[in-house]
Every structure is written in structure tokens, then in C-alpha cells.
Point group: C2
Chain length 431, copies 2
């Protein structure tokens, strides 16, 4: 299989990239930034080809907008690369150092994961972002973009791979896939590919999760909740819910369901309806909600829905536990916030809600790698292992144990002629 | 489906267990230890039933030996529980604290993964070890032991669940599965089960990996290598290879393949053969090896084999890179060691070998959670995400982000009326 051979070569190169130092990787990143600038004419021409073809094929307007990759977008991705150069290298950090015995020292040191398969939709900026994140973290990468951006993706991949090679990196650390069949082939190659990161629609991510044995980092749904507690400052609650719902509706950290304590619902819901009506937000509610404000009924399906639109489902609850249970039953483990003046209730909410991001008195929209100060974002994960919530560069590394001895054998410890010390060395790994 | 309902209840209880404090969890562990001691008569009787039935069914002798759970074994698992009580609680550790803006503080805090499915073979001690590890780390657990130990497993599960409930833990945090069909059902319930840990034979682990969407922590093969470099101290190399091969052959960190640099092979291999002959180790070798010592030819299949027996495959290589390439091609990412007096070569080996444990001048047999000083071992992972190498209690936790605000909304940052500070707080999370 051609894909198998391609993945094998990327894997081989990734082992060399894993051992590349910070200086070489940053030099390659700077070279990529310079080449993107130098070859911007070629890039813009390729993008125009994609835009023209898409127009002929009647691509939907929002997709066309995302596809556009002009001089301003090129300047943005170059800025992004310079920010990435400034970030700490996530590779080579010593997480643990222990003297097992005299002359026998154990070090737990971060290293790249290996080869990452990244699948993204129309935006060509994603190709630049994700390939440079992989480079900085020492990972090989297989890239598959949307077919509507194929000319742009081709030239971007060429520029990036050529520039990195010119700086001295192995030429095959990155490769571009072009067809949907390539993706299906890639998802089978768990021998060489260590992690898949899908960026796109719910259905798309779910398809990837269902069709590969390779671990997947990402999220299918973002069903986020605001819970307005009995002890909430209702002005604050109104401000937060309006932001969480309307500041940007098409994103995974926007709130989809509002839970309100029954004791404040009669005062809060009419004020909320007024505020959201002015923003053209459609409300649906539980029976109790509908005794307080005039809205359409919410169905079971509403509690499971990520609207990504100007729509909010509303449920009145009788206590904090009912709110927590609702979130753990219907939420997607993404981001949920409580608005309350009561610290004990806030602590209880944050302990019991089983989501990657649990907030108190602030908007769900803060759940984001840049807002968290990570400097770069690989994606947002709702998984329960490895990385959870917004994932920065750290999510692209794992660790290996390095044990340095001087002829040490286990038999000496098994026959009790020697014993382990297990003393913390608190020291960076160096040879 | 019955299993679905059972898993749902364990999941619900796990959310309560996740919020239990260290004191309560340690109290439950002490109660379990006390109950195992008090009810040892019942346990030993149940085990005798299993042993008698197994004898009638002609169970192989090594399996019968592993099945035996007598007073000494009970004392061992009780000791293990008291060691576990002394270990740090892996839950509630603050990994990161950042002031995003005035009054808006982000904390990354460790928390349990959720529900762990554990499948183990005949040894009943595994049931006690793994359930108490899950308890200490705040995880719910579904346990499936070997059917030959079914009476012993039943009484052990009953003792553990009753004792934990008496100490105040939710009664359904743990459950025992009894049939192979239960396991197949469990592997489908990725909605409630977050991680599967299979402990058993290669085929068994591979079956689990191939038949579930739930992440798996473990290893199928342990194909470990010793590489004797041109600059090795050959006396040291002999001592290490003999230990790595023969100290205990039936374990995953025993060496299966020896690689020797061609410049030292003529001196080293005859000495090695003499030493291993005296331990009744069968050798197979590459063509070059066979010009130096009289051994049977090694086939392609030998390089891929985990013998778990008194057998070693031997290959002569022309340089370090050939050794590294061989390991990365045929190894299982478990544990590999270089014997050399040259630090640069050792560093290169440890950087380029893509295994969880890379050693210099010591035996592969050191790759173990207890020898590493973790105090407890969940298993050894050859995966590339979450946990790698010997996994201690830390492998059973993940983290959540807790964000504390005071009415903060994203719109203020989007419209530039406020800006992020991203100042490291270097502070433990408390409310």
C-alpha cells in the first residue's frame, strides 16, 4: 500500500526529528516563515485557483470565506510562527529524577509522540499552524486538508517541507495527503501513526473516532452549560449567560443549555428573555420554564443538541445536584460554569461536574488555549486520558524513562545483596 | 443491556468517589485491609473450592500455582494496601496556576479518570491490587478475573466493596464481572468506561485492543534488546546480558534479542555462549553470528518473537545506527539497553531508540514500577500517549481546568476593553 510506505518514511524521519535540538527546530521555523513571505505570490495565485474553482462549483459562502488565503492571512500565519519560536521547547524536560541506587539514576524526560495524522477542513491556515506545532514538538505529521483548498495546501506543504529541509531537517518529516481514500488508509496504519487530530464538524470527528484504532485527540460535541444558582448575583448571571450564548455562537465553547435554580427563575428568566430577544436568540424551555416565560417546549433532543446558533435551551432545576446530574447526563465534558455567590456550592459544582473545564462566575467562552495563556492551541479535547480541555504544545509530547547504570543487574536486588534507595535527585537530565 | 446499567451505576458512583478526600479514601483502604484479615477463613475456603475444581478440570500446574491464595498471599496483599495508604494521593494536585486577568484565575488540577475496566488472568491478588489502586486514585472499576478463580474473586470483591461502603464510600464504585460475554459487552460501553487495563497474555491484550474503542493501557509484547557496543566493557556486558535474559525469563522486561557490534563479536560471543550454555539458554543467530559460534539460524520470525523462555536471538551489527534501526523495526517499544563506555553513543542510543525505557549499562529487567520507586504499579504501557513505561498511581489520573472569575466575559477581551495578563501564580488550588 502506498500510504503505508509514506507513513513508514514519515515515521523514520520523525525519529530523527525527535532528536533535533531546539536551535535547529527554531531555525527551521524561521526559515518556513521567511519562505512563506518570499513565495507569497505563488501561494496567493494557488489560492485564487481554489477560489475560482469553488465559485464554479457553487461552494457555500462561509466555506469560501474560510478558504480565502490572502496577504493578510499569510502575515497572520507568519506572526504565529514567530510566537511559536518564542515558546519553550516542550521536548527534553526532566519530569522526575531518582537515584535508584549508587550509580543507578532514573530520569523521566519528555519526548515527541511520533507521527501525528491531522485532518482539517477548508482553512489553509490550519495546515501551517498544525505542521509548525508538530515541528516545534518534534513530531512527524501527515496532513490532509479540504479538497476545496487543494492547490493552496499543495503549495503551502511544498514551501514548509522545502524550507525545513533547507534548514537541515529530514525532508520527509511531513507529507500531504490528497484524497478521502488516503484518509481511510491512514486511519488503518496504527503501526506508524501514533495520534490523530481531526479538526472539523461533529459528524466528521465522530467518523474518525469510529474508524480507527489510533488514539484521537479532539472533541465531537461542545454542549456547554451555564448554571444560575439560588445564590447568584443575577446581574452578573445575565451578563455571563448573554456572553456565553451570543459572543460567538459557532464555536464549541458557546453555551447551549441554561440551568436555573427554581428560587431565582421567576426573577431571572424574564430579564434573560428580554436580553436574548434583543439579540434574536430563540429560546426553548422545560415545562417550569414555560410557566415563567413564553417559549417553545424543549424536547429530550434539545438537551443533547449543540446548536452552534442563536438558540438556547432552558431548564429550571430544584437544586445544585439536579444541575450537576443534568450536566453529567447530557453534557459533552467540554465546559460548564456555575454562577453563585456561595463558595461551597462552587467547589461542589467544580468537583462533581465531570468536564475538562469547570468555571465559577465567568463565561464558558474562556475555554481556549490562547485565553489560557498556552501561546498555541493544538485543539480542545473532551477525552479522559493524555490531554483534556484546551491542548497546548505539551499535548504533543510524551516521555521516556532513561536509566543510567554502571553494570547494574536485577539479580543483586532479587538476592538482597543490594537494596534500592529511591532518593529524589531533583536534577535535569544531562549526559 | 444489563452491563450498560451496571456500568452506568459504577460511573455515577465514580463521580462521588472522585470528590472523596484523601482521609476518607485511606480510611476505606484500612477498612478493606482489616476485613481481608477478619474474613480470611472465608477467602481461603473459597480459594480451596477453586483449587479443587481446577484440579478436577486438569488445570495446568503453573496456573494452579498462580491461583493459590493462602494465608501468606493474604498477608502480602494486606501489606500492599498499607503501602498504598502511605503513598501521596494523586488527586487534587495543582499542575498549573495562572492569573489570566485581575480576579480571573486558572488552575489545572489532577482528578480521577472515571471508570476503569480491568481484566486479569488467574491471580486473585491482582483483584485486590487493582481495585485498591483505583480506589486510592478515586476511580470506579469494573473487574473481570479468570473463571478458574471465580469463587475467590467473588468473596474478595464482596469483602472489598462491603468494607469500602462501611467506611462511607458509595457502594457501587466497584463491580465484579463474571463471564467472557460480560467482557465483550464491557468493551462496547465507551460512554461510561474511560480506560481498559488488560493484564494477561499477548493474544489476550491484542484481542482487547482490537475489540474496543475505549483507550487501552498496557502492552501486548515485550521484545527487549541488549546492544553491546564496540566500546563496551565486555565483562560488564556479559553480566548484564546474562541477567537480562535469565534472571526471570517469563516477564515482559526480559531480553529477547542481543545485538553485538562486529568489532567485539569475535571476543564476546564465545564467552556469552559459554555463560548461557551453563544456564541452558538456546541461542539462534544471524549468518555472521554463526561464523563465530555454533548456533541454529535465526529466522525473520525470531526478531519478532517474545520467547518468554530460555532462548535468545543474536545479531551482529556493523554500527550503532544499525542496532537502533533493528530495535525500532522489530522491538515493541518496551525496554532496550546499550552497553558502552562511550557517553555520546549512549546519548544517541537513548535519543533515537523509540521505546518507553532506554537504558545505559544496566539490565532491561529494571523496567518496573516498584524498582523505579513508584510504590505501586498499574501496569507497563507501550502506548505513546498518556502513560508510557511502568505506570504508577499517576497513570490513573487526568486533570481538569478550574477557572474562577467574578463576572468575567469574553466580549471585554474581544473588544479590547480588557487584556490578558497570563501571570504565573505558582499557587495550590483552594477555594
Amino acid at each position: 500500500m502506498i500510504m503505508d510506505e509514506l507513513a513508514r518514511r514519515v515515521k523514520e524521519s520523525s525519529l530523527k526529528l525527535a532528536a533535533a535540538g531546539t536551535e535547529l527546530k527554531n531555525k527551521a521555523l524561521a526559515q518556513i516563515a521567511a519562505s512563506l513571505y518570499e513565495r507569497k505570490g505563488e501561494i496567493i495565485r494557488a489560492n485564487l485557483e481554489d477560489l475560482e474553482r469553488s465559485e464554479k462549483e457553487n461552494l457555500a459562502a462561509p466555506l469560501s470565506k474560510r478558504l480565502k488565503f490572502d496577504e493578510a492571512k499569510i502575515a497572520d500565519v507568519i506572526d504565529g510562527i514567530y510566537s511559536l519560536i518564542k515558546l519553550d521547547d516542550p521536548v527534553g524536560k526532566t519530569l522526575l529524577s531518582t537515584e535508584l541506587d549508587v550509580g543507578l539514576e532514573l530520569y523521566k524526560v519528555t519526548c515527541p509522540i511520533g507521527v501525528i495524522g491531522v485532518i482539517f477542513e477548508s482553512r489553509p491556515d490550519a495546515l501551517v499552524q498544525i505542521s509548525t506545532l508538530c515541528l516545534k514538538s518534534g513530531n512527524g505529521v501527515l496532513l490532509k486538508g479540504g479538497s476545496e483548498a487543494r492547490e493552496t495546501n499543495r503549495i503551502l506543504a511544498e514551501v514548509i517541507i522545502d524550507a525545513a529541509a533547507a534548514a537541515g531537517l529530514p525532508p520527509q518529516w511531513a507529507a500531504l495527503l490528497e484524497t478521502r481514500a488516503d484518509v481511510d488508509d491512514m486511519l488503518k496504519i496504527d503501526r506508524y501513526i501514533d495520534l490523530v487530530i481531526p479538526r472539523g464538524s461533529n459528524e466528521f470527528v465522530r467518523y474518525i473516532m469510529d474508524n480507527s484504532r489510533i488514539p484521537v485527540l479532539g472533541h465531537a460535541d461542545g454542549i456547554c452549560h451555564c448554571y444560575v444558582d439560588a445564590d447568584a448575583d443575577l446581574d452578573m448571571a445575565l451578563k455571563i449567560v448573554v456572553d456565553a450564548k451570543t459572543q460567538y455562537v459557532a464555536v464549541c465553547n458557546a453555551t447551549e443549555t441554561l440551568l436555573v435554580h427554581e428560587s431565582v427563575a421567576p426573577e431571572f428568566l424574564p430579564a434573560l428573555k428580554k436580553a436574548l430577544d434583543s439579540k434574536n436568540v430563540e429560546l426553548v424551555g422545560c415545562p417550569k420554564t414555560r410557566t415563567l416565560i413564553t417559549v417553545a417546549p424543549a424536547t429530550e433532543e434539545d438537551w443533547k443538541s449543540e446548536y452552534l446558533d442563536y438558540k438556547l435551551s432552558v431548564k429550571v432545576v430544584s437544586d445544585l445536584d439536579e444541575a450537576v446530574d443534568h450536566i453529567n447526563e447530557y453534557g459533552s465534558g467540554h465546559t460548564d460554569t456555575i454562577i453563585t455567590g456561595n463558595g461551597d456550592k462552587a467547589a461542589r459544582f467544580m468537583d462533581y461536574v465531570d468536564s475538562g473545564n469547570v468555571f465559577w462566575n465567568c463565561s464558558t467562552r474562556f475555554s481556549d488555549g490562547f485565553r489560557y495563556g498556552f501561546g498555541a492551541e493544538v485543539g480542545i479535547s473532551t477525552g479522559k486520558i493524555h490531554s483534556r480541555g484546551p491542548v497546548g504544545l505539551d499535548g504533543l509530547v510524551i516521555y521516556k524513562y532513561k536509566l543510567i547504570g554502571n553494570g547494574h543487574v536485577v539479580d543483586d536486588y532479587a538476592n538482597r545483596s543490594r537494596t534500592f534507595k529511591h532518593r529524589n535527585l531533583n536534577r535535569e537530565f544531562t549526559l
